[in-house]
Symmetry: C2
Amino acid sequence: MPGPDQLDPVLDDTPPPGSTRSVSESQVSETESAILEAARDLLAEGGIGALSMRAVASRVGLSATALYHYFDNKEALVDRVVQRGFQQSEEYLRRAIENLPRGSMERVAALGEAYIQFALRNRQYFKIIFAIRPEQPRAIDDVPGQGGYVVLRESVVEAMESGAIRRADPDVVVLFLWSVVHGLVTIFMACDPAGMLDEVGLCGGDCGQPEATLALFDKFRELIRDGLAPDRADGSEDAR
Amino acid sequence: MPGPDQLDPVLDDTPPPGSTRSVSESQVSETESAILEAARDLLAEGGIGALSMRAVASRVGLSATALYHYFDNKEALVDRVVQRGFQQSEEYLRRAIENLPRGSMERVAALGEAYIQFALRNRQYFKIIFAIRPEQPRAIDDVPGQGGYVVLRESVVEAMESGAIRRADPDVVVLFLWSVVHGLVTIFMACDPAGMLDEVGLCGGDCGQPEATLALFDKFRELIRDGLAPDRADGSEDAR
DNA sequence: CCGTTAGGTTAACACCGTCAACCTAACACC
DNA sequence: GGTGTTAGGTTGACGGTGTTAACCTAACGG
Protein backbone atom coordinates (compact mmCIF):
# COMPACT_ATOMS: atom_id res chain seq x y z
CA MET A 1 0.00 0.00 0.00
CA PRO A 2 2.86 2.42 0.54
CA GLY A 3 3.37 2.38 -3.20
CA PRO A 4 6.67 3.18 -4.79
CA ASP A 5 8.60 5.98 -3.23
CA GLN A 6 8.37 8.96 -5.41
CA LEU A 7 11.27 11.29 -5.73
CA ASP A 8 10.89 14.99 -6.01
CA PRO A 9 11.55 16.18 -9.54
CA VAL A 10 14.70 18.12 -9.92
CA LEU A 11 15.02 21.74 -10.85
CA ASP A 12 15.01 22.09 -14.58
CA ASP A 13 18.38 23.06 -15.87
CA THR A 14 17.48 23.92 -19.41
CA PRO A 15 18.23 27.61 -19.62
CA PRO A 16 15.26 29.97 -19.86
CA PRO A 17 15.02 30.90 -23.54
CA GLY A 18 16.87 34.08 -24.34
CA SER A 19 18.91 34.07 -21.20
CA THR A 20 22.60 34.55 -21.65
CA ARG A 21 23.48 31.59 -19.52
CA SER A 22 27.10 31.62 -18.63
CA VAL A 23 28.98 28.65 -19.98
CA SER A 24 30.04 27.90 -16.43
CA GLU A 25 29.35 24.95 -14.21
CA SER A 26 26.02 23.33 -14.79
CA GLN A 27 26.19 23.25 -18.56
CA VAL A 28 24.18 20.13 -19.18
CA SER A 29 23.12 18.77 -22.53
CA GLU A 30 19.51 17.96 -23.14
CA THR A 31 20.30 14.29 -23.50
CA GLU A 32 22.24 14.24 -20.30
CA SER A 33 19.42 15.64 -18.26
CA ALA A 34 17.00 13.29 -20.01
CA ILE A 35 19.19 10.45 -18.82
CA LEU A 36 19.26 11.80 -15.30
CA GLU A 37 15.51 12.18 -15.33
CA ALA A 38 14.96 8.67 -16.54
CA ALA A 39 17.33 7.38 -13.92
CA ARG A 40 15.54 9.27 -11.20
CA ASP A 41 12.20 7.91 -12.34
CA LEU A 42 13.42 4.35 -12.40
CA LEU A 43 14.88 4.83 -8.97
CA ALA A 44 11.59 6.13 -7.68
CA GLU A 45 9.57 3.39 -9.28
CA GLY A 46 11.61 0.36 -8.39
CA GLY A 47 14.49 1.35 -6.17
CA ILE A 48 18.11 0.97 -6.97
CA GLY A 49 17.50 -2.53 -8.28
CA ALA A 50 15.43 -1.14 -11.11
CA LEU A 51 18.06 1.37 -12.13
CA SER A 52 20.14 -0.45 -14.72
CA MET A 53 22.09 1.16 -17.51
CA ARG A 54 20.04 -0.72 -20.07
CA ALA A 55 16.76 0.30 -18.52
CA VAL A 56 17.76 3.94 -18.34
CA ALA A 57 19.00 3.88 -21.90
CA SER A 58 15.92 2.29 -23.34
CA ARG A 59 13.76 4.82 -21.55
CA VAL A 60 15.67 7.63 -23.22
CA GLY A 61 15.67 5.77 -26.54
CA LEU A 62 19.36 5.04 -26.60
CA SER A 63 21.55 2.03 -26.36
CA ALA A 64 23.12 1.30 -23.03
CA THR A 65 26.62 2.09 -24.10
CA ALA A 66 25.61 5.56 -25.22
CA LEU A 67 25.30 6.53 -21.58
CA TYR A 68 29.02 6.15 -21.25
CA HIS A 69 29.43 9.25 -23.37
CA TYR A 70 27.91 11.18 -20.50
CA PHE A 71 28.97 9.26 -17.42
CA ASP A 72 32.08 7.32 -16.64
CA ASN A 73 30.10 4.43 -15.25
CA LYS A 74 26.95 3.54 -13.40
CA GLU A 75 28.32 4.75 -10.12
CA ALA A 76 28.91 8.19 -11.57
CA LEU A 77 25.38 8.28 -12.96
CA VAL A 78 23.81 7.29 -9.67
CA ASP A 79 25.96 9.78 -7.83
CA ARG A 80 24.76 12.56 -10.06
CA VAL A 81 21.15 11.54 -9.60
CA VAL A 82 21.48 11.53 -5.85
CA GLN A 83 23.49 14.71 -5.80
CA ARG A 84 20.83 16.51 -7.80
CA GLY A 85 18.21 15.14 -5.47
CA PHE A 86 19.92 16.48 -2.42
CA GLN A 87 20.54 19.82 -4.02
CA GLN A 88 16.86 20.39 -3.59
CA SER A 89 16.96 19.72 0.08
CA GLU A 90 18.48 23.06 0.84
CA GLU A 91 15.74 24.90 -0.99
CA TYR A 92 13.19 22.64 0.63
CA LEU A 93 14.48 23.57 4.05
CA ARG A 94 14.71 27.25 3.28
CA ARG A 95 11.13 27.35 2.11
CA ALA A 96 10.01 25.64 5.29
CA ILE A 97 11.27 28.50 7.44
CA GLU A 98 10.77 31.53 5.26
CA ASN A 99 7.76 32.72 7.21
CA LEU A 100 9.06 31.98 10.66
CA PRO A 101 10.72 34.62 12.78
CA ARG A 102 14.49 34.58 12.89
CA GLY A 103 15.94 33.54 16.18
CA SER A 104 12.87 31.56 17.18
CA MET A 105 12.82 28.00 18.34
CA GLU A 106 9.99 27.31 15.90
CA ARG A 107 12.35 28.04 13.08
CA VAL A 108 14.75 25.38 14.24
CA ALA A 109 11.93 22.92 14.81
CA ALA A 110 10.49 23.59 11.38
CA LEU A 111 13.78 22.58 9.85
CA GLY A 112 13.56 19.28 11.65
CA GLU A 113 10.08 18.67 10.35
CA ALA A 114 11.10 19.63 6.85
CA TYR A 115 14.07 17.29 6.96
CA ILE A 116 11.81 14.45 7.99
CA GLN A 117 9.35 15.21 5.26
CA PHE A 118 12.01 15.53 2.62
CA ALA A 119 13.64 12.30 3.73
CA LEU A 120 10.42 10.32 3.64
CA ARG A 121 9.54 11.69 0.23
CA ASN A 122 12.99 10.98 -1.14
CA ARG A 123 14.02 7.94 0.75
CA GLN A 124 15.64 6.31 -2.25
CA TYR A 125 18.30 8.97 -2.21
CA PHE A 126 18.98 8.32 1.42
CA LYS A 127 19.18 4.60 0.93
CA ILE A 128 21.79 5.00 -1.74
CA ILE A 129 23.92 7.44 0.17
CA PHE A 130 24.14 5.16 3.13
CA ALA A 131 24.50 1.90 1.33
CA ILE A 132 25.65 1.74 -2.18
CA ARG A 133 29.12 3.11 -1.79
CA PRO A 134 31.46 0.20 -2.23
CA GLU A 135 33.64 1.18 0.66
CA GLN A 136 35.03 4.57 1.39
CA PRO A 137 32.50 7.05 2.66
CA ARG A 138 31.84 9.84 0.23
CA ALA A 139 32.71 13.45 0.76
CA ILE A 140 30.41 15.24 3.11
CA ASP A 141 29.20 17.42 0.27
CA ASP A 142 27.12 14.59 -1.09
CA VAL A 143 25.35 14.00 2.12
CA PRO A 144 21.92 15.47 2.67
CA GLY A 145 23.29 17.67 5.38
CA GLN A 146 25.54 19.70 3.16
CA GLY A 147 23.05 22.20 1.87
CA GLY A 148 20.97 21.93 4.99
CA TYR A 149 23.87 22.20 7.35
CA VAL A 150 24.47 25.87 6.78
CA VAL A 151 20.75 26.62 6.89
CA LEU A 152 20.34 24.83 10.19
CA ARG A 153 23.50 26.33 11.56
CA GLU A 154 22.31 29.79 10.74
CA SER A 155 19.02 29.24 12.50
CA VAL A 156 20.75 27.76 15.51
CA VAL A 157 23.16 30.65 15.80
CA GLU A 158 20.32 33.14 15.52
CA ALA A 159 18.38 31.29 18.15
CA MET A 160 21.36 31.41 20.44
CA GLU A 161 21.77 35.13 19.91
CA SER A 162 18.12 35.80 20.56
CA GLY A 163 18.28 33.71 23.70
CA ALA A 164 15.80 31.13 22.48
CA ILE A 165 18.31 28.37 23.05
CA ARG A 166 21.27 28.35 25.29
CA ARG A 167 24.74 29.15 24.12
CA ALA A 168 26.96 26.27 23.15
CA ASP A 169 29.19 25.21 20.31
CA PRO A 170 26.81 25.67 17.39
CA ASP A 171 28.40 22.90 15.36
CA VAL A 172 27.86 20.43 18.12
CA VAL A 173 24.27 21.55 18.48
CA VAL A 174 23.69 21.32 14.76
CA LEU A 175 25.14 17.84 14.56
CA PHE A 176 23.06 16.88 17.55
CA LEU A 177 19.82 18.07 16.00
CA TRP A 178 20.75 16.58 12.69
CA SER A 179 21.46 13.27 14.39
CA VAL A 180 18.10 13.26 16.12
CA VAL A 181 16.01 13.80 13.02
CA HIS A 182 18.21 11.72 10.79
CA GLY A 183 18.21 8.84 13.22
CA LEU A 184 14.48 9.04 13.64
CA VAL A 185 13.92 9.01 9.94
CA THR A 186 16.39 6.23 9.32
CA ILE A 187 14.92 4.01 11.97
CA PHE A 188 11.44 4.52 10.64
CA MET A 189 12.56 3.79 7.14
CA ALA A 190 13.88 0.44 8.25
CA CYS A 191 11.21 -0.67 10.68
CA ASP A 192 7.59 -1.38 10.33
CA PRO A 193 6.37 1.52 12.42
CA ALA A 194 3.05 -0.15 13.11
CA GLY A 195 4.47 -2.58 15.63
CA MET A 196 6.53 0.05 17.30
CA LEU A 197 4.13 2.89 17.32
CA ASP A 198 1.18 1.49 19.17
CA GLU A 199 3.79 0.68 21.74
CA VAL A 200 4.31 4.39 21.92
CA GLY A 201 0.60 4.92 21.80
CA LEU A 202 0.62 7.05 18.70
CA CYS A 203 -2.09 6.49 16.17
CA GLY A 204 -3.86 3.19 16.48
CA GLY A 205 -2.16 0.77 14.16
CA ASP A 206 -2.22 1.59 10.49
CA CYS A 207 -1.31 5.21 10.27
CA GLY A 208 0.88 6.45 7.49
CA GLN A 209 4.56 6.70 8.11
CA PRO A 210 5.02 10.43 7.64
CA GLU A 211 2.34 11.35 10.11
CA ALA A 212 3.64 8.90 12.66
CA THR A 213 7.21 10.05 12.29
CA LEU A 214 6.23 13.67 12.58
CA ALA A 215 4.09 12.94 15.60
CA LEU A 216 7.02 11.32 17.30
CA PHE A 217 9.28 14.19 16.39
CA ASP A 218 6.78 16.48 18.00
CA LYS A 219 7.19 14.56 21.24
CA PHE A 220 10.95 14.77 20.86
CA ARG A 221 10.82 18.57 20.83
CA GLU A 222 10.08 18.66 24.52
CA LEU A 223 13.04 16.44 25.28
CA ILE A 224 15.30 18.49 23.08
CA ARG A 225 14.20 21.66 24.77
CA ASP A 226 14.29 20.60 28.41
CA GLY A 227 16.67 17.66 28.43
CA LEU A 228 16.42 14.53 30.45
CA ALA A 229 17.69 15.87 33.73
CA PRO A 230 15.01 16.21 36.40
CA ASP A 231 13.84 19.76 37.06
CA ARG A 232 16.24 21.60 39.30
CA ALA A 233 13.28 23.42 40.82
CA ASP A 234 12.44 20.10 42.38
CA GLY A 235 8.80 19.58 43.14
CA SER A 236 5.46 19.83 41.42
CA GLU A 237 6.41 18.44 38.01
CA ASP A 238 4.99 14.95 38.00
CA ALA A 239 3.82 14.38 41.53
CA ARG A 240 1.91 11.13 41.62
CA MET B 1 43.61 2.82 5.05
CA PRO B 2 40.49 2.07 7.07
CA GLY B 3 40.73 -1.50 5.85
CA PRO B 4 37.75 -3.73 5.36
CA ASP B 5 35.04 -3.52 7.94
CA GLN B 6 35.21 -6.52 10.08
CA LEU B 7 32.11 -8.11 11.43
CA ASP B 8 31.90 -9.62 14.84
CA PRO B 9 31.91 -13.39 14.64
CA VAL B 10 28.64 -14.94 15.52
CA LEU B 11 27.92 -17.14 18.48
CA ASP B 12 28.60 -20.71 17.63
CA ASP B 13 25.40 -22.61 17.27
CA THR B 14 26.77 -26.10 17.11
CA PRO B 15 25.31 -27.67 20.24
CA PRO B 16 27.76 -28.34 23.07
CA PRO B 17 28.54 -32.08 22.87
CA GLY B 18 26.31 -34.13 25.08
CA SER B 19 23.70 -31.47 25.53
CA THR B 20 20.12 -32.55 24.96
CA ARG B 21 19.46 -29.69 22.63
CA SER B 22 15.77 -29.32 22.00
CA VAL B 23 14.85 -29.84 18.39
CA SER B 24 13.20 -26.45 18.48
CA GLU B 25 14.04 -23.27 16.66
CA SER B 26 17.65 -22.82 15.90
CA GLN B 27 18.31 -26.31 14.60
CA VAL B 28 20.91 -25.52 12.01
CA SER B 29 22.87 -28.02 9.95
CA GLU B 30 26.62 -27.80 9.89
CA THR B 31 26.60 -26.92 6.21
CA GLU B 32 24.07 -24.20 6.71
CA SER B 33 26.10 -22.44 9.34
CA ALA B 34 29.22 -22.88 7.23
CA ILE B 35 27.38 -21.04 4.49
CA LEU B 36 26.34 -18.29 6.86
CA GLU B 37 29.87 -17.97 8.11
CA ALA B 38 31.31 -17.74 4.62
CA ALA B 39 28.70 -15.16 3.72
CA ARG B 40 29.51 -13.10 6.78
CA ASP B 41 33.22 -13.23 5.99
CA LEU B 42 32.69 -12.15 2.42
CA LEU B 43 30.49 -9.34 3.60
CA ALA B 44 33.15 -8.19 6.01
CA GLU B 45 35.92 -8.42 3.47
CA GLY B 46 34.32 -6.75 0.52
CA GLY B 47 30.91 -5.42 1.41
CA ILE B 48 27.65 -6.52 -0.07
CA GLY B 49 29.14 -6.41 -3.53
CA ALA B 50 31.48 -9.24 -2.68
CA LEU B 51 28.72 -11.43 -1.35
CA SER B 52 27.62 -13.44 -4.37
CA MET B 53 26.04 -16.84 -4.29
CA ARG B 54 28.91 -18.27 -6.30
CA ALA B 55 31.53 -16.75 -4.06
CA VAL B 56 29.84 -18.04 -0.94
CA ALA B 57 29.40 -21.46 -2.46
CA SER B 58 32.97 -21.82 -3.61
CA ARG B 59 34.19 -20.81 -0.20
CA VAL B 60 32.21 -23.62 1.35
CA GLY B 61 33.23 -26.00 -1.42
CA LEU B 62 29.82 -26.30 -3.01
CA SER B 63 28.23 -25.26 -6.24
CA ALA B 64 26.17 -22.13 -6.18
CA THR B 65 22.89 -23.90 -6.66
CA ALA B 66 23.45 -26.02 -3.60
CA LEU B 67 22.81 -22.98 -1.45
CA TYR B 68 19.23 -23.04 -2.61
CA HIS B 69 18.71 -26.16 -0.57
CA TYR B 70 19.22 -24.02 2.51
CA PHE B 71 17.92 -20.62 1.51
CA ASP B 72 15.12 -19.57 -0.79
CA ASN B 73 17.26 -16.97 -2.47
CA LYS B 74 20.07 -14.55 -1.91
CA GLU B 75 17.87 -12.14 -0.06
CA ALA B 76 16.97 -14.81 2.46
CA LEU B 77 20.61 -15.67 2.95
CA VAL B 78 21.63 -12.08 3.49
CA ASP B 79 18.74 -11.55 5.84
CA ARG B 80 19.84 -14.48 7.97
CA VAL B 81 23.39 -13.21 8.04
CA VAL B 82 22.31 -9.78 9.16
CA GLN B 83 19.80 -11.15 11.63
CA ARG B 84 22.46 -13.31 13.25
CA GLY B 85 24.74 -10.33 13.38
CA PHE B 86 22.23 -8.19 15.17
CA GLN B 87 21.33 -10.94 17.58
CA GLN B 88 24.66 -10.25 19.20
CA SER B 89 23.91 -6.62 19.75
CA GLU B 90 21.78 -7.30 22.78
CA GLU B 91 24.53 -9.22 24.51
CA TYR B 92 26.98 -6.55 23.46
CA LEU B 93 24.87 -3.89 25.12
CA ARG B 94 24.24 -5.92 28.24
CA ARG B 95 27.92 -6.50 28.73
CA ALA B 96 28.58 -2.79 28.40
CA ILE B 97 26.47 -1.97 31.45
CA GLU B 98 26.95 -4.98 33.66
CA ASN B 99 29.25 -3.16 36.04
CA LEU B 100 27.37 0.13 36.14
CA PRO B 101 24.91 0.94 38.90
CA ARG B 102 21.24 0.48 38.07
CA GLY B 103 19.31 3.69 37.81
CA SER B 104 22.36 5.74 36.96
CA MET B 105 22.70 8.06 34.03
CA GLU B 106 26.06 6.47 33.25
CA ARG B 107 24.28 3.25 32.54
CA VAL B 108 22.13 4.89 29.91
CA ALA B 109 25.09 6.68 28.42
CA ALA B 110 27.12 3.50 28.30
CA LEU B 111 24.43 1.94 26.17
CA GLY B 112 24.77 4.78 23.73
CA GLU B 113 28.49 4.33 23.52
CA ALA B 114 28.12 0.59 23.10
CA TYR B 115 25.61 1.06 20.33
CA ILE B 116 28.01 3.34 18.52
CA GLN B 117 30.85 0.92 18.92
CA PHE B 118 28.82 -2.01 17.80
CA ALA B 119 27.56 -0.11 14.79
CA LEU B 120 30.99 0.97 13.69
CA ARG B 121 32.34 -2.53 14.10
CA ASN B 122 29.46 -4.05 12.19
CA ARG B 123 28.62 -1.36 9.73
CA GLN B 124 27.97 -3.78 6.91
CA TYR B 125 24.95 -5.07 8.74
CA PHE B 126 23.65 -1.57 9.19
CA LYS B 127 24.16 -0.67 5.60
CA ILE B 128 22.10 -3.63 4.53
CA ILE B 129 19.29 -3.14 6.98
CA PHE B 130 18.90 0.53 6.35
CA ALA B 131 19.57 0.69 2.71
CA ILE B 132 19.89 -2.36 0.59
CA ARG B 133 16.56 -4.00 1.15
CA PRO B 134 14.59 -3.68 -2.04
CA GLU B 135 11.46 -2.00 -0.83
CA GLN B 136 9.20 -2.74 2.06
CA PRO B 137 10.70 -2.10 5.44
CA ARG B 138 11.34 -5.26 7.34
CA ALA B 139 9.79 -6.24 10.62
CA ILE B 140 11.17 -4.36 13.57
CA ASP B 141 12.63 -7.57 14.91
CA ASP B 142 15.42 -7.45 12.40
CA VAL B 143 16.48 -4.02 13.35
CA PRO B 144 19.37 -3.57 15.73
CA GLY B 145 17.08 -1.95 18.21
CA GLN B 146 15.07 -5.04 18.85
CA GLY B 147 17.32 -6.74 21.31
CA GLY B 148 18.67 -3.46 22.52
CA TYR B 149 15.31 -1.78 22.87
CA VAL B 150 14.30 -3.68 25.97
CA VAL B 151 17.73 -3.26 27.50
CA LEU B 152 17.70 0.47 26.95
CA ARG B 153 14.11 0.75 28.09
CA GLU B 154 14.90 -1.04 31.29
CA SER B 155 17.79 1.28 32.03
CA VAL B 156 15.69 4.31 31.21
CA VAL B 157 12.85 3.23 33.49
CA GLU B 158 15.27 2.54 36.29
CA ALA B 159 16.88 5.92 35.82
CA MET B 160 13.47 7.55 36.01
CA GLU B 161 12.62 5.71 39.19
CA SER B 162 15.92 6.62 40.80
CA GLY B 163 15.39 10.24 39.81
CA ALA B 164 18.44 10.37 37.56
CA ILE B 165 16.32 11.48 34.64
CA ARG B 166 12.98 13.14 34.67
CA ARG B 167 9.75 11.22 34.28
CA ALA B 168 8.29 10.97 30.82
CA ASP B 169 6.91 8.37 28.49
CA PRO B 170 9.76 5.86 28.55
CA ASP B 171 9.10 4.70 25.00
CA VAL B 172 9.41 8.20 23.68
CA VAL B 173 12.61 8.68 25.62
CA VAL B 174 14.02 5.40 24.40
CA LEU B 175 13.22 6.20 20.78
CA PHE B 176 14.71 9.62 21.28
CA LEU B 177 17.98 8.29 22.62
CA TRP B 178 18.06 5.60 20.01
CA SER B 179 17.53 8.22 17.32
CA VAL B 180 20.39 10.33 18.58
CA VAL B 181 22.99 7.60 18.59
CA HIS B 182 21.68 5.94 15.48
CA GLY B 183 21.61 9.18 13.59
CA LEU B 184 25.08 10.06 14.72
CA VAL B 185 26.43 6.72 13.65
CA THR B 186 24.60 6.73 10.35
CA ILE B 187 25.79 10.20 9.45
CA PHE B 188 29.35 9.31 10.26
CA MET B 189 29.15 6.16 8.24
CA ALA B 190 28.16 8.17 5.20
CA CYS B 191 30.38 11.20 5.53
CA ASP B 192 34.05 11.69 5.59
CA PRO B 193 34.37 12.76 9.18
CA ALA B 194 37.67 14.51 8.56
CA GLY B 195 36.12 17.46 6.81
CA MET B 196 33.32 17.77 9.28
CA LEU B 197 35.22 17.21 12.46
CA ASP B 198 37.86 19.86 12.34
CA GLU B 199 34.89 22.10 11.81
CA VAL B 200 33.79 20.92 15.18
CA GLY B 201 37.31 21.14 16.44
CA LEU B 202 37.66 17.53 17.43
CA CYS B 203 40.92 15.78 16.69
CA GLY B 204 43.01 17.47 14.08
CA GLY B 205 42.29 15.84 10.78
CA ASP B 206 43.08 12.18 10.44
CA CYS B 207 41.71 10.59 13.54
CA GLY B 208 39.95 7.27 13.40
CA GLN B 209 36.21 7.25 13.00
CA PRO B 210 35.27 5.45 16.20
CA GLU B 211 37.18 7.84 18.40
CA ALA B 212 35.75 10.86 16.65
CA THR B 213 32.22 9.56 16.82
CA LEU B 214 32.52 8.71 20.46
CA ALA B 215 34.04 12.10 21.20
CA LEU B 216 31.10 13.78 19.58
CA PHE B 217 28.68 11.59 21.45
CA ASP B 218 30.37 12.68 24.62
CA LYS B 219 29.57 16.28 23.74
CA PHE B 220 25.99 15.27 23.01
CA ARG B 221 25.54 13.95 26.51
CA GLU B 222 25.44 17.43 27.91
CA LEU B 223 22.75 18.47 25.44
CA ILE B 224 20.74 15.37 26.17
CA ARG B 225 20.94 16.03 29.87
CA ASP B 226 20.22 19.73 29.98
CA GLY B 227 18.38 20.41 26.77
CA LEU B 228 18.66 23.43 24.54
CA ALA B 229 16.52 25.82 26.53
CA PRO B 230 18.46 28.59 28.26
CA ASP B 231 18.92 28.19 31.97
CA ARG B 232 15.88 29.37 33.89
CA ALA B 233 18.20 30.56 36.62
CA ASP B 234 19.13 33.29 34.21
CA GLY B 235 22.56 34.73 34.66
CA SER B 236 26.09 33.52 35.09
CA GLU B 237 26.10 30.78 32.45
CA ASP B 238 28.01 32.20 29.57
CA ALA B 239 28.49 35.81 30.47
CA ARG B 240 30.89 37.02 27.78
C1' DC C 1 13.44 -54.19 -2.71
C1' DC C 2 11.44 -50.13 -3.55
C1' DG C 3 10.06 -45.07 -2.81
C1' DT C 4 11.21 -40.99 -0.87
C1' DT C 5 13.91 -37.56 0.56
C1' DA C 6 18.13 -34.69 1.49
C1' DG C 7 21.90 -32.95 -0.63
C1' DG C 8 24.37 -32.29 -4.37
C1' DT C 9 25.64 -31.73 -9.47
C1' DT C 10 25.76 -29.54 -14.45
C1' DA C 11 23.72 -26.74 -18.01
C1' DA C 12 21.29 -23.14 -19.18
C1' DC C 13 18.59 -18.54 -19.15
C1' DA C 14 18.18 -13.78 -18.72
C1' DC C 15 20.12 -9.95 -17.09
C1' DC C 16 23.92 -7.03 -15.60
C1' DG C 17 28.08 -3.40 -16.17
C1' DT C 18 31.42 -2.49 -19.35
C1' DC C 19 34.63 -2.46 -23.29
C1' DA C 20 36.25 -2.46 -28.17
C1' DA C 21 35.27 -1.49 -32.61
C1' DC C 22 32.86 0.81 -35.76
C1' DC C 23 29.75 4.26 -37.88
C1' DT C 24 28.06 9.01 -38.98
C1' DA C 25 27.11 13.79 -39.01
C1' DA C 26 28.96 18.33 -37.76
C1' DC C 27 32.42 21.42 -37.54
C1' DA C 28 37.35 23.77 -37.91
C1' DC C 29 41.00 24.70 -40.80
C1' DC C 30 44.31 24.92 -44.62
C1' DG D 1 36.60 21.89 -51.31
C1' DG D 2 38.92 18.45 -49.09
C1' DT D 3 40.41 16.93 -44.64
C1' DG D 4 41.01 15.90 -39.89
C1' DT D 5 38.81 15.81 -35.49
C1' DT D 6 35.35 15.23 -32.44
C1' DA D 7 30.71 14.30 -30.29
C1' DG D 8 27.28 11.12 -30.22
C1' DG D 9 25.70 6.98 -31.41
C1' DT D 10 25.64 1.86 -32.81
C1' DT D 11 26.47 -3.50 -32.50
C1' DG D 12 28.67 -7.30 -30.47
C1' DA D 13 30.91 -9.43 -27.09
C1' DC D 14 33.02 -10.80 -22.31
C1' DG D 15 32.60 -12.16 -17.77
C1' DG D 16 29.78 -12.03 -13.92
C1' DT D 17 25.19 -12.20 -11.59
C1' DG D 18 20.73 -14.72 -9.44
C1' DT D 19 18.00 -18.40 -10.46
C1' DT D 20 15.68 -22.55 -12.60
C1' DA D 21 15.31 -27.20 -14.48
C1' DA D 22 16.83 -31.62 -14.87
C1' DC D 23 19.45 -34.99 -13.18
C1' DC D 24 22.29 -37.79 -10.00
C1' DT D 25 23.38 -40.32 -5.64
C1' DA D 26 23.49 -42.04 -0.99
C1' DA D 27 20.66 -42.86 3.10
C1' DC D 28 16.71 -44.49 5.23
C1' DG D 29 11.84 -46.37 6.29
C1' DG D 30 8.23 -49.56 4.85
